[in-house]
Symmetry: C2
Subunit: 419 residues, 2 copies
């Protein structure tokens, strides 16, 4: 069989290491000349396929593709876009086949989280439903760590490392200031539905470096009285404490704590984070001086402090996706399989996409302490290996030397398509 | 003359590298056996002296003191405390002499910013006014970079590097998302009165890595219409932009932009940052999707991404302070002297404390672009060398291995003193 081209795109929120998956995928594809012609990247995810806005990655140098390994964000642009179901409207699928056929695309790689797995699954069905032969393989990526089956999700380890390192550093700071000034530091982290990222804050405290930390998980309904009692007790005992709060924390009424209906002086609704809400509670309820931070994009873009394990796994997922596809697999996703904790050993497995798409993995209850404010030894044993090792990018003039690709467009062969 | 003991303390907001100054000071003092006996550290700054709460640093191992060089925060605790003037109330000064005499302290080293320089200057006057022989030397430290005479302030370079790196990383992120999602990222940074830290955000954009960035300085009165017009123009041209906003930005009415009188659902005043205020303006005025972050303590505690130049200068300031003191100098502060930009060369100078205390150095107007939203080439030439080089701490199990000292107390010889 003559080699066919591959389509690769990035989807959803980007991470510090999604480009490492792109690197693994493109480098591996370049070694599969018998099976794969060129890798065309979709500009801005699946939208690039629908709009026939393709990037010819063969125009990028070996060095540029290698540099993707140490460059955060999505080098080809990402998107938040969900395909309509085939039953409702087959137009998008017909268009995809039209584009795939025009550019002889026989492999479809989609790099994203749960929603993207759904997109990839839908594309994989084209093969059977519409008689167009294509191998669709999903490449896992999400800082939320909420994909099922895989032991962890590429992207998570680096956010976890960032949050653990930052919490340790800020806790050292507040401990220094506590005598006459700030006694509580509140850090807001990502995780709308699952507390994996907040849990990583717990790693800041370790053997020989004990730190009083309160973690607020989206899985645990927030009770203000219990929270303030815990902060009060820790400050009385240690002189200070840190709070790591997930953006997704909800009250007992099921509403997001961040959605407090803040109004400005003119009565306009204001969108705020949850950190200032929690900080204000501490001020009003305990009269303690506080500081608060919101990590937001910094946490998921922080390639400068990426986890080495995470970078290696991200690269391995991209590589495995190609190997699965040229091996004739369709509608699957490579996974990280944990083989042992001490020493940490992992391998690559494979999961059927219909068991991945739209399934959300929350923190197991036995990963969260009985009081709901901390992580258990079991959780720690799970998390610790994922933040191991540093994988520093190269620097130029004091700044990380991240690559920007040329992103040369592939010449269009078809007419416009309105999304 | 028999060797006398030294007092060292840390004051004001701590930094990623103030302990590097402590390291330089203690290591140098240990080599000055002829002049200096022991180095006693004040627990929580000058309060440690007033309360006779002294730490015997001679109980710390060589390795522990060396590890201070890579450990952020204040290892002995800091304080926000200003001495009353001698004229108003001499009680504190009498107490200091009592403590210094009881512990044979002949050298006073205070490590801090402008307020601390004032404290150090007051202590230096004890010598003349009250006949107690002591050499008082100030060790410069402040992330705000607002001390006069010295070319830059230890602590600033590392915050600047953190802000530049974070802005570059987050900008790569928002650029990836902009097609279908977030188009503006707003990062709030420190700097209540001077825009030095915000200016460092401008370094994120450099040759080969151009990034559309709007900087909001406390030196420039904020005009909402001009700001929104600028963001709008950048987003139209580049598809996205980043905003770096100093916490100290004020409107044309002279009021802090962060002080918007936010109220919760019950009408209680809420303390917010300036980032959400700016983000809400972007939403209401331009209807663009945004994300915002507040770096807060993370920026000044981020030893994991400290500037090598900053670490070296911080160490050098601690070392020079000892050398000045044993050389018989009083009421002085070592400074960083810039000798050339390309290649960057610097040396150590000395400044009289009465020219340092309570003087605040703002950004020169010619460091800020004509439109008030960016930095000039002159500013860039000043800032660039200060973020050069990485000086990574050692890691254990994926986390920086920061030292915690034993902080063994010196036995008290005096009665209580009520502050």
């Amino acid at each position: 069989m003559a080699p066919r081209n591959a389509f690769y795109a990035q989807s959803g929120g980007v991470t510090a290491v999604i480009n490492a998956s792109a690197c693994g995928l493109i480098e591996t594809a370049r070694r599969q000349r018998k099976h794969i012609g060129k890798v065309y990247a979709g500009r801005n995810g699946i939208i690039g396929a629908l709009a026939e806005d393709l990037i010819d990655t063969s125009k990028e140098s070996v060095a540029a593709i290698r540099a993707l390994r140490h460059t955060p964000s999505g080098a080809f642009g990402s998107c938040r876009y969900k395909l309509t179901s085939f039953e409702k409207d087959p137009r998008e699928y017909q268009r995809l086949i039209e584009v795939f056929r025009a550019h002889d695309i026989g492999y479809f790689f989609y790099n994203g989280g749960g929603d993207s797995a759904d997109t990839c699954l839908k594309v994989s069905l084209i093969s059977a439903r519409m008689g167009y032969p294509i191998a669709a393989v999903h490449v896992p990526k999400t800082v939320d760590n909420d994909l099922p089956i895989t032991d962890c999700c590429p992207g998570f380890g680096s956010v976890a490392k960032y949050v653990a390192v930052s919490t340790r550093e800020a806790s050292f700071d507040v401990a220094s200031m506590a005598k006459t000034s700030t006694k509580v530091f509140v850090l807001e982290v990502m995780g709308r539905h699952a507390g994996w990222i907040a849990a990583a804050g717990g790693l800041a405290s370790g053997k020989g470096t004990e730190i009083p930390i309160v973690i607020l998980f989206p899985e645990i309904a927030f009770r203000q009285d219990q929270f303030l009692a815990r902060v009060d007790a820790l400050v009385k005992k240690h002189g200070y404490c840190s709070v790591v709060v997930s953006e997704g924390v909800k009250g007992t009424d099921g509403k997001f704590l961040s959605d407090q209906g803040l109004r400005d002086a003119f009565g306009h609704a204001q969108l705020g984070g949850v950190a200032p809400v929690v900080a204000n509670m501490i001020r009003q309820g305990l009269n303690l001086k506080y500081h608060w931070g919101v990590a937001d994009y910094l946490q998921r873009a922080a390639r400068h402090i990426a986890s080495k394990v995470d970078v290696e796994q991200s690269y391995a997922m991209g590589k495995a996706a190609v190997e699965l596809a040229v091996g004739g697999r369709n509608a699957v996703m490579p996974t990280v399989v944990r083989k042992s904790n001490r020493p940490y050993k992992w391998g690559v497995g494979v999961a059927p996409l219909d068991q991945v798409a739209n399934v959300e993995r929350k923190m197991p209850r036995d990963f969260i302490g009985a009081d709901g404010f901390g992580i258990t030894a079991k959780c720690r044993a799970y998390l610790e290996p994922l933040i191991r090792g540093e994988d520093y990018p190269p620097y130029r003039d004091g700044l990380p030397d991240y690559v920007r690709l040329r992103n040369t467009p592939v010449r269009k062969k078809l007419g416009e398509f309105s999304l």
